[in-house]
Symmetry: C2
Subunit: 401 residues, 2 copies
């Protein structure tokens, strides 16, 4: 029983954290519940057609399947579902008609062949990356509706009646979802994407701003007793590890961008906001993150660098990383506020000047001991970073246009 | 018309490439078509219950929605669907019964509240990462079935009849999918994962084996005329860029691992094959790939390294990267054939020896010119690679146990 209690507490904590991390999750759950009880009760009170049968079922099914977390995803699924049902329904009626002409014997054979051809080709279409990203759900509904209609075996009048009934229920279910998702605390995928891209850049900035202190600071202060210094490093490092999530952000960025393309104009975003620009920035940010990852393994490396050499390059390196971090932060702020990040350029200039300083230091320094193995990479990566920042800046400007 | 023809040719080419890249896509499409026409015709010939209505619809729906590319995904969805329908059906009947007791006035209110609570909590559960990964589809079906059954408004006998009918059709649809996906050219997610992990390691090996020649070779041979040398580099590089896909392999590896956990024993894989080990190897491979990415930007860097210095480290560096590449290739082969990669250790030893050589070279070399900025990183990264390889080896051994 104690073990059981501990488990319950653990689950409760998990729930609390999930809700705390993103309160919109709770709101979303309530929205789904609301939409579903509304649609259910609507059909409960108005048992249209032959009792509570097909009609209500389709409305409930539509709500359950179409209602997604963000407005873009919900709209995308709703539109996919509507259009696919219409198209497949029309085609299905046609196929049904065609099969009728083939006589009683040929009918099932022809129907089977038609269903087979359509299902196979549609399934294959789903492998196209472009279709997969935006119309996958539509293809599923297309196959489903076509097979249902063409094999239904009803007379034509019945089919038309069914089609009317089904379309209207799907419309009711779909519009309930769309209306609730747009007007009750909407979650815009576009806004999320916007924030995510800025946040990712900020995470890199966090690392770069802290890197100098991390790499030079601790060991420099208490050279003798390594033990505690290392412990402090381990503790502090957690604040620098935020960038790790940037490395694998591709999938979420792309799905958000796909959803965002369905969204109407909202807040500061137009209907055809250049979402692809965000993906470009995302790619560059990740490239930068890979360099940061390499930089990070320099911190963890256990090769000892002679302290006198470290001191020589400390100032320039710290400045380079700190200033490029600042520049990234300005860029992120620029994206957030959709303004031109003027300050970023200044920070970039400063970091470039520091880079030149470092180069002259390296050129003039007379080195008795050549075991630089773990000092220079930091400088290299910092200079690579400067390149990438320049790139990111270009893109940020493009977005702000 | 010419423009139109060009477009058609383009689309046809795309189709050809899609089919060529993975012929299983064509087979999968045919399998879906087959399953669908079978189920459709089965219900066409045997109009059970009241004509071709609900019953067949559920079977067709199940086939369309459950049939996925890999056996694991199909099984997972089928099992999710079956269990969720059963559970939600039972709960729905209970809710229906409870609401009946509340009297005619209280019934719809109570039903609405119950649907709301269940839908909201289930939707929230879907945010748990663990649930999302494996039971997402089950939760959707759970909400759907519960609302359908509890609000249905039928008498109890009718509900039980419906439940029986619906479960049997779902069973027929689901088992058709599972049988066809297992026995007709099966696509095992586990096998795909196995191959993907090995392939990713091989891609890194490709890069490392080619890196030495790329970095030192071309410029060394024709020092004078930079122009053509660079062009050759650009051409050759495409063969080295294969590793880029490794950087973003996380999502596909994880979904394959999730599917693989549903799969029964097949080929050389047991039912509870340690799929998590593959994910661990995947994480390490990506870490290695980040270092390779940093290495790659050293090739593209335009800072000029003094050739005399380059020559000094050429031998050791080339050996380090080539031998670590060889070691990775052996590891990949070890994973593929599920044997212990003995040769990998030898290659690792050789590359470690080269690393020591490099260190002594660096220590003894008298350097007049200290502009090493772009030589040492390669060495650093190579030594980091050796560390990571050692790590990967441990994991590979763990898998082979």
């Amino acid at each position: 029983p104690k073990n059981f209690m501990a488990k319950i507490v653990k689950v409760l904590n998990k729930i609390k954290n999930l809700a705390k991390d993103d309160p919109r999750r709770v709101i979303h759950s309530i929205k789904v519940g609301l939409a579903l009880s509304l649609v259910s009760l609507f059909y409960y009170f108005r048992p249209l057609y032959d009792g509570f049968g097909d009609a209500a079922m389709w409305a409930v099914l539509t709500v359950v399947v179409v209602f997604e977390f963000s407005v873009g995803a919900t709209l995308g699924k709703g539109i996919n579902r509507g259009i696919a049902t219409l198209l497949a329904g029309a085609l299905g009626v046609g196929a049904h008609h065609l099969a009728n002409l083939a006589g009683e014997k040929g009918e099932p054979i022809l129907l089977g062949i038609l269903v087979f051809i359509l299902a196979a080709t549609s399934t294959f279409t789903r492998f196209f990356p472009g279709v997969k990203a935006r119309y996958d759900y539509g293809m599923v509904i297309f196959i489903l509706t076509f097979s249902l209609v063409s094999v239904s075996g009803y007379r034509m009048e019945k089919i038309l009646e069914l089609a009317h009934q089904r379309l209207s229920t799907i419309l009711i279910g779909g519009s309930t979802c769309v209306i609730i998702s747009i007007f009750v605390c909407p979650v815009w995928a576009g806004e999320d994407l916007h924030k995510l891209v800025a946040l990712n850049i900020e995470k890199l900035a966090d690392f770069l701003e802290g890197f100098g202190g991390e790499y030079f600071g601790h060991e420099g202060n208490d050279g003798g007793d390594e033990g505690p210094a290392v412990v402090v490093t381990k503790d502090d490092k957690s604040s620098l590890q935020g960038y790790k999530s940037v490395l694998n952000s591709k999938a979420s960025e792309e799905s958000l961008a796909n959803f965002a393309r369905w969204e109407p104009c909202h807040g500061r975003f137009r209907f055809r906001h250049p979402w692809k620009q965000y993906l470009k920035i995302g790619v560059l940010t990740r490239q930068c993150a890979y360099q940061v990852e390499a930089l990070n393994s320099c911190i963890n490396s256990d090769t000892q660098t002679p302290p006198e050499f470290k001191k020589k390059i400390q100032e320039a390196c710290t400045k380079m990383s700190f200033e490029s971090g600042k520049a990234l932060r300005e860029l992120a702020t620029g994206i957030r506020t959709m303004t031109h990040p003027n300050a970023a350029e200044i920070h970039l200039e400063v970091s470039k000047a520091a880079e030149d300083d470092l180069k002259t230091t390296l050129k003039t320094a007379l080195l008795e001991d050549i075991d630089l193995l773990h000092v220079i990479p930091a400088a290299t990566v910092a200079s690579l970073l400067v390149e990438i920042i320049a790139c990111t800046e270009k893109i940020a400007e493009a977005v702000n246009e």
